[in-house]
Amino acid sequence: MAWTHSQTPPVKGHLPVLLPLRSMPQGLPLQDRLFNVWTASILVLALAAALITPAFAQDATPGRSAFAILLEWTPTLAKGFGFNVLISILSMAIGTVLGVGLGILQVSPLRPVRQVAWVITQFFRNSPWLVLLFYCILLIPFQIEVFGTKIPFPGWVKAVIGLSLPVMAYMSEYMRGAILSIPTGQWESAESLGFSRGQTLREIILPQTIKRVLPSWMNLYAVLTMATPLVSIVGVNDVMALTRAALSAEGRVDLLIPMYLYILCWFFLYCYPISALTRWLERKYSVKL
């Protein structure tokens, strides 16, 4: 503003009390959001910690440096991390498809359909992910026979199914909220133009929900990715399981902290851009509907 409290307002009735408390932050371009001073400092700190911690411990245990060992194990750990990413993508895909369907059923005009969809949603949304994983591992047979062909269900496939269940439930809630947030006028004008309910959903309502659901959906993906190490508990060889294997193979206590810190950095580097992009999208879409 060009004038302060001590000066007379340029316009009569233009009072400081009417001004916004503080101006909205200027929207930064996406790349500046991703690579700004905060991100950089967090990364530097993480790397420094990873390097310094083993350096302190090194006097006690002779042999290769912790850094060299991390480097040596990197290809193996990368494969494990790739597995985590694969599991997260598959769970997300299955959960999204099921969740969108379930969300649509939650706003069905038929009361029983609505209620069943609601119960399913609430059940899986309020269950611990690890317990769901255990259930899937235990309940799903290791192979299913369909028309004489045996379809195997290895542990990681069961884990994908287990993780897709909470994703489905969250997605269902997001969809329900998004569909209900579309003004009723959209339904009415579609109805008066002769669109059936199904056509209205497909052609008019669902396309408009995408923008509203997208930020939550991406956030859910980041959360899901960070939850994938749970699969190591049910015997899938993900990055966590491989890290434990590497640690026991090396048998060095001083490696514990740097090794896990190293894995944390990987998850951070994968998930942080997603959450930054999410926040950027949220801001972008929050202004106009």
């Binding site: 006028g185 009415e188 004008s189 109805e191 008066s192 133009l193 669109f195 056509q199 008019i204 408009q208």
Partner: protein, 248 residues
Amino acid sequence: MSWTEDQPIVSLKDVHKSFGEVKVLRGVSMDIQKGEVICIIGPSGSGKSTLIRCINALNDIQSGSITVEGIEVSDPKLDKLALRKKVGMVFQQYNLFPHRTVLQNVMMAPIKVLGQNKAEVEQRARDLIRKVRLEGKEDAYPGELSGGQQQRVAIARSLAMSPDVMLFDEVTAALDPETVKEVLNTIKDLAADGMTCILVTHEMGFAREIADCVYFTDRGVIVESGPPATFFDQATDPRTREFLSQVL
């Protein structure tokens, strides 16, 4: 029941409608002939909007009968699509589809609902957009248009279904004063082309100019009706006179 053009195109007989305990319509009857322009005026909460929403079955009625070209609207086995092919509706809040361009908004219903040929529909849609004087805006999104422009797109979108009756529910109430006129002119053009129009409106000057018959509703009943000249200058019912003295 077959309908011939000498019978009323829209006919309401003793229509009752309530939302829960609230009685919104308490015995409304009116006959509208093909090509007539009807304006419904009245204080807010008098049931004007509900009345015209009942005509295209957006609201159901508790008793009485509504027919449009012989189609019984309150029939539980009503073929809603058949009704909506005949009745077009324009809303106060335009309700355009924000994710589609102007041209797509106009083309959508004939293609998706009636299954008409895309090229033919596009030709007709472009003609309609020209008719509501929005040529050049075909590829704009609703959010990029002014309220008056959006409302004219809504009119074109409704006309694309080639209805016989158009319902206008306070279509200028959300508009800036200077854009009201462009929408009213569009409606005037339509009326001049012989379209049967039923308007709920607060534009008294417009009602006086364009209407064949003005209806005044209050508390769910039609208090008074007549051609605009007699209605506005020689209203007999005290409620009508009080209302007119407040708005004129």
